[in-house]
Amino acid sequence: MDHNGQESGNMEEVKICDPSILPQCPDHTDTDVPSENHCVNEDHRTPSDPEGLLESADHSSEQDVLPQEPSTEMQKLHVEDDRSLCPGGSETDSGKASQDSALVDNSNDDSGEFVVTVLARGKMEEQGMGMKGASSPLSETGTPLGPPSHRNEDVTADSWRQHRKHVFVLSEAGKPIYSRYGSEEALSSTMGVMMALVSFVQSGDNIIRSVYSDEHTVVFMQRGPLVLVSVSCSRQSEQQLRNELVYVYNQIVSMLTQASITRIFEHKKNYDLRRLLAGSEKILDGLLNLVDSDPSFLLCAVHCLPLASSLRDSLSQILQKAITPNLVFSILIAKNQLLTIVQEKMVIDDARLEPADLHLLLNLIGASSAFQAGEIWTPICLPSFNPDCYFYAYISYLDPPECTVCLVLLSTDKEAFYSVAECKRKIEEAMQTQNALKSIAKAQSYSVSQVGVSDLRHFMYKPFDVPDNHRQLTQFTSPEMEAPYSSEEERMRLLDLYRDLHGRIHSASRPLKLIYHVAERETLLAWVTSKFELYTCFSPLVTKTCAINAITKLLRWIKKEEERLFIRYPPKYSTTPNPSRSSKTDAH
């Protein structure tokens, strides 16, 4: 009750401040410029940089955090919040006539942004999202708030033991860092045993890999100063569980960088990394939910939303035209699937965005409802690209309050917020002009029945043939899961069958070219060639002849539809300055 009262008080406090901020905006900005610089410098020098900004992300959806922060933190958050509300502030300083006009526009934008933020928050609360344990005056219904937390689960209960998969992260010193179920404190002795096992085997000049019992597989993985352990009663192979631990490690790296983690533990072996990861548990929880339910992770590929190639090309062109120096990736996502991606030309020559990095980015966006509240500027490390450096990500939903279409702009310049935000506005304007959001809203996954094979229930197809010499983002396509895989339980069962096939066909010591498995409830076929990787699910009574004919038909259908199913010709842009741009600037 008291806690709720405090929450309510905070909300009231924010409301009271709202009217006074807006009219004083210019003066307020002038006053805060020195403070902003100070904070920026401070951020740049300390390893806690990601913590601060991630806190900022959390702050916009968890008001209760504010009164508990130290004064410097409050100052930083305040600046951040202010910058969010007044993105055009720095431009007004010059006082030029042309920019006075811009000031007027910016004022309108500020107002719109604020209204959108309030509406978004209200919508979230109506949907039971947002602040934990808070009953807000904006919430008109009694719906439960947010998913139940596993943090306080009783680790001595049977229900804790019966989870399909436990994941633990600890430091070399045996310090608990993360646990999927149950609090790290309650599990510190169990994690201590894990570290003892690792150390013991290590002392014999050996490395512990895994432990098997009738029902469980325990996988150990050491990455630098961190030890990750998975305890699973699913039927996944050891290699698959290990790959999932790599994702967990990389998600942590994406928040902290590998160099930072290494440096921290070099300086203090006993460091409690939870201090830097506080508030990020739900990001790791979300990741582990995704790896179980999203085959993208198993296939190490990106799921593309099927889209007419003309619309996709149009969206790509919009992204191609909205550029600024140091922008390296522009990504458009809808319904957690990739719409299109544009890459800086020089980046393409040197490297490419790996599916694994995109998975981490998508999880970061999806795991935190904070991103739905407005625009976010956050550092993010892409470990497969470079595990030791940050990108800076501008993340914004283009269709509030539905929040299904998300724009991500990645820059190498920490100071580029305003210019990147300007790119977003250009993109938004162009999309409005073309009525793109409505077209995207109509796009959806396809049914397997479109293939026209009655015994075929589902498939996953991952092509290897690339039309150009580009090193392309690896993609896959898959229809909706329909009857008899409508329930969550049945969907998980089918994914488990696919995981079985994948584990056998990609076995490290004895890989296979083809698997045909007649089981009790379905018949499965997995086929890997130099051109594609295919997993199919048939009804149990399909004959082998019918299955082979179905696959022939399926491959033909995919070939016919490939322009719609995949991003075949990824576009690129160049952000290097050129004379024509300079000319434009002068004209402006």
Binding site: S507, R510, K513, A519
Partner: protein, 480 residues
Amino acid sequence: MLMISPRMASGMQEKQYTPSLLSFFIYNPKFGPREGEEEKKILFYHPIEIEKNEKIRNVGLCEAIVQFTRTFCPTKPAKSLHTQKNRQFFHEPEENYWMVMVVRNPMVEKPNKDGKPPTVEYQEEEIIDSVYGSVLQQCYSMYKLFNGTFSRAFEAGGVELLTQKLEKFFYRYLQTLHLQSCDLLDVFGGISFFPLDKMTYLKIQSFVNRVEESLSLVKYTAFLYNDQLIWSGLEQDDMRILYKYLTTSLFPRHTEPELAGRDSPLRPEVAGNLLHYGRFLTGPANLKDPEAKFRFPRIFVNTEDSCEELHLIVYKAMSAAVCFMINASVDLNREFCEKLDSLVGPQLTLLASDICEQYNINRRISGPEKEPQFKFIYFNHMNLAEKSTIHMRKMASVSLTSVHPDLMKILGDINCDFARVDEDEEIIVKAMTDYWVVGKKSDQRELYVILNQKNANLIEVNEEVKRLCATQFNNIFFLD
């Protein structure tokens, strides 16, 4: 074992090392529960020269692993531990008695330039847990066959007697393990049955009945021909491990001398007996010898309930062997053995001759097979019947296979998949070498076929397997 395969023109070679036994130990945590008493837990440890503290550490690791997995599943603790260099297998055959087998992973030793020591690369995924887990269980079953349970020895004479028995048995037994040859057949622990027409089978049945009536002391009998079982009066599980002992230990020891020339000094003396070819494989080597010993190995059967201790008499004439099992409380003497020899010898000789003649007639009718047309393994869980055209005749308990080891491992993988579910299933895979491997499971029967038809497609492979089932298993229905 060391296999050398040349890799470089300069003569530098990669060396491939197969899996080998690193250590084997048995412990009971109840025997040393307090700190400082750890050594008391250890009942047996191989190799014997390992330093005491290292033994204690290695046992401690196993206890920690078992305890750790109990955190998540109290009733089903760890079965194996995988590390970079080795695999450890755990088996608790009796409450609190733990057996551990540590197998070194296969390795490839790669030469380095400039006289640097070679690089060792461990092949961590080559070992199949179900195969070596079964081998560990066999170790216990074999010990139990000759000694009864661990608890029995402990109750009879405490830890001292138990450790004596363990040392006596495992010191010799571990030397007979050939880990590089273990495969799917070790998972099955099956019995090869001799194909027989009804008339000959009835003759054997009649023979067994007559002998058991004349020698009323005989409680159980088993009849084998050519290392294949024809008849058994034992329970299935007991016959299973006894069969393994006979075919991998006792028979091979006596086969090699028999293959020697007639005038070889190794050949047993038969000058005094021209009436039949019968002789004892256990007990007295030569009845005519005044110094002959009448001590027979003792075995334990029905250990789950009555736990009977029996004398094991193995008597052989030509290719036919009979096991007679008599209660261990009975003293067997020269008179009894002479009576058995005079009764069984002539009849068994004639019977062996009849079986051989009938077998040759059948072979002549069906035509001799120089090379099996199909390479397959068949196993029936109900009667433990096992048949393999992949495995060549066993010599000195080393099993040789006629297919690439990777294909055997694929069979092992399919078997693991079948073991997970109760329903009938079929799995067909194409290996990277373009061999096809087909696994069928139906009504507690398992069939595995290896086909070398590189250009065949799935339909053709299926037709080929149908043909195999029609010719080899016409009485058995396999799900298609």
